[in-house]
């Protein structure tokens, strides 16, 4: 008997058996349905988190080194590093002069101020002081107007570029370009509006205003805490550039040889690594829970298949007397179990899909084809694995004994 015919025949038998025991099969399937709903939801959630994270991280730029006072993820004890000297605008200028492997060097300083326009006002808005090349390092785009010029960055007129949220908050209908807003009591002319960022679990925000760093220094903070973005010429040069930068910084800050760095050079990688650690743990826990529910579902299938085999002992005897081989019987019951599970898998997908649509409001991405396929394959495998023992028992039955059973 060919395998194809065997499978067709087995499928027909399986469907007939399922039809004959609708309620029982339905109840058994429930375990698998729950398992597959968990698998697909978990898969979609993990995928969604990864995607959103990648979007946010790509905003950081793979080719950008962040010179900051502290390393993002270090095991240094806080009391050892708290007295570090600030990174200043002068540091940025010194780096810019000496560095060879960088495309742009951009300082950023932060302040929180109240922003007012006519009768509207917003408190505690993030004010970012930076230079004209910031958009090269950050990779954002301007939706209307323009970015600051080099002259403005060096301290010309007080101008500002609005983040998308602030722009819509203050200017519903009219164009903000050319208007004046008050930041912490000083008047700034709006020259541009930034395009909105992708959001991730509320992280990342468009609620900010960019101004020339010189203005920030003179108006709000004489000694601002600065971070320096160094965009490297090529991603392949990251490690070399990092070493170069490290040398420059140690020289500028006169760190004696043998002493550890008193600054941090951060890069996206560190962030990704940490995220992967957390994400990996999340996925492990998720898979464990999923595995558990599938395991319970699988036990149900195994149980019902044992019942099915016992009930159909006579049928097995007849089939064997007529010439069914062990393999034929084995495949017949395996396919029956797999069919039950596949049904469960399909129902599970049908239930999970609308839920992922709701989830997509909070995470990017709905159920992917991959997740759906994985769900189906997992249900199939559960069926085959849990059906194996009962099917094996059926295939090993002695035909005389099987025929004698009632």
């Amino acid at each position: 008997m060919t395998l194809g015919a065997e499978i067709t025949e087995s499928l027909a038998i399986a469907l007939a058996a399922l039809r004959a025991n609708k309620l029982r099969s339905g109840l058994t399937t429930l375990g698998i349905v729950i398992g597959i709903v968990t698998v697909t939801l978990m898969g979609t959630a993990i995928e969604g988190i990864n995607q959103s994270f990648k979007k946010v991280v790509s905003g950081l730029g793979t080719d950008v080194l962040y010179v900051q006072k502290f390393a993002w993820f270090s095991n240094d004890e806080w009391w050892k590093v708290r007295n570090r000297r600030d990174i200043t605008l002068a540091t940025a200028r010194a780096i810019e002069r000496q560095v060879t492997m960088a495309r742009v060097v951009v300082p950023e300083a932060f302040s929180r101020q109240t922003v007012k326009h006519k009768n509207r006002s917003a408190s505690s808005v993030a004010i970012v002081g930076t230079t004209d090349q910031n958009f090269l390092a950050r990779g954002f785009s301007i939706s209307s107007g323009r970015f600051m010029s080099a002259a403005e960055a060096e301290g010309g007129r007080p101008i500002c570029i609005l983040g998308a949220d602030i722009a819509t908050k203050f200017f519903r209908n009219e164009s903000p370009l050319g208007e004046k807003i008050t930041i912490g009591g000083n008047s700034f002319e709006i020259v541009g509006v930034m395009a909105p960022f992708d959001k991730f679990l509320g992280l990342g925000s468009d609620n900010h205003v960019l101004i020339p760093i010189t203005q920030l220094k003179s108006m709000f903070d004489l000694r601002p805490e600065v971070q320096i973005l160094v965009k490297v010429l090529d991603v392949k040069m990251m490690d070399d550039a990092r070493e170069e930068l490290r040398g420059i910084l140690r020289k500028i800050r006169s760190v004696p040889p043998g002493m550890p760095d008193d600054f941090g050079i951060n890069q996206q990688d560190a962030f990704i690594q940490r995220f992967n650690q957390v994400g990996g743990m999340l996925a492990t826990v998720g898979l464990f829970i999923t595995g558990l529910s599938l395991f319970v579902g699988g036990i149900g299938i195994m149980n019902i298949m044992f019942v099915s085999v016992a009930e159909r002992t006579k049928e097995i005897g007849i089939r064997k007397a007529i010439g069914a081989k062990r393999r034929t019987i084995l495949i017949q019951f395996l396919i029956e179990a797999a069919t039950i599970c596949l049904f469960g898998g399909l129902i599970g997908l049908a239930i999970a899909f609308p839920i992922t649509l709701v989830m997509s409001k909070y995470l990017s991405g709905t159920m992917s084809i991959t997740v759906a396929l994985v769900g189906l394959v997992v249900s199939l495998v559960t069926g085959v694995v849990s059906g194996f023992l009962p099917a094996w028992r059926a295939s090993k039955m002695n035909p005389v004994d099987a025929l004698r059973s009632e």
Binding site: A20, I318, A321
Partner: protein, 242 residues
């Protein structure tokens, strides 16, 4: 070469500490085309012998050759193939698949033999027509009478052109009229050259056969030619005989 050759065939059943000798050292040859009845009281080993001849069971010791090949040395798969190709079973309780219609029941041996769908359908239809059930092919077993069910079973036994038809009490669940129908089918098959072995404890059934073997306590008590076999044709002329 004989169709069936068995020598010192023994089948033991171990029941706890007790050993039951269902068959003891049975030796026998059966030729192609014979019509044979196996008789004996209940528990004498008829079904045991039948299961061995049908390759459903394996002997505890002894030799068994079918068409010259040593069955006693075959593995499960080879036995399944022999059952599929060489043997057609007819059971007392019909043993049809309850959820399948007559046609599918008859097709089953052909499915296992690997025939393509269209061919096996035609063969099964022909077999069902042969047992005069051409108009009942889509009936399920519970939609057929006892005699019709047994005819479906016979069609299933025949469809693969087996070397032997083995029937264990084929009329046991039927009234005498329907039993006669079945026996006339066997007679017809026998006339066409099929080998038929019928297990029965009814003399009325056995007297149709050309040879009668009687078992007692797992031994062959007698093995004799039936000099005057009873045929259905003679049944029609019965009044003249009496």
């Amino acid at each position: 070469m004989s169709l069936i050759y068995i020598k010192n065939l023994t089948r033991l059943y171990q029941m706890g500490t007790e050993t039951i000798h269902a068959l003891r050292d049975v030796s026998l040859t059966i030729e192609q085309g014979e019509y044979l009845a196996i008789m004996g009281p209940s528990g004498s080993g008829k079904s045991t012998l039948m299961n061995l001849l049908g390759c459903l069971d394996t002997p505890s010791s002894g030799e068994f050759e079918l068409n010259g090949s040593k069955v006693s040395e075959m593995d499960d798969n080879q036995l399944a193939e022999i059952r599929n190709q060489e043997i057609g079973f007819v059971f007392q309780s019909f043993n049809l698949l309850a959820r399948s219609d007559a046609l599918h029941n008859v097709e089953l041996p052909l499915i296992y033999a690997g025939y393509p769908a269209e061919e096996r359908r035609q063969m099964a239809m022909a077999a069902l027509e042969h047992v005069k059930l051409g108009d009942r092919v889509h009936h399920k077993p519970n939609e057929l009478s006892g005699g019709q069910r047994q005819r479906v079973a016979i069609a299933r036994a025949l469809v693969n052109n087996p070397s032997i038809i083995l029937a264990d009490e084929p009329t046991g669940n039927l009234d005498s009229r329907t039993g006669v129908e079945i026996l006339s089918l066997f007679e017809e098959l026998s006339v066409k050259g099929n080998t038929i072995i019928v297990v029965t404890h009814e003399e009325d059934v056995a007297r149709h056969a050309r040879r009668i073997i009687r078992l007692r306590d797992g031994l062959i008590a007698s093995d004799a030619v039936n000099e005057n076999p009873f045929t259905i044709q003679s049944l029609g002329r019965e009044p003249e005989h009496v």
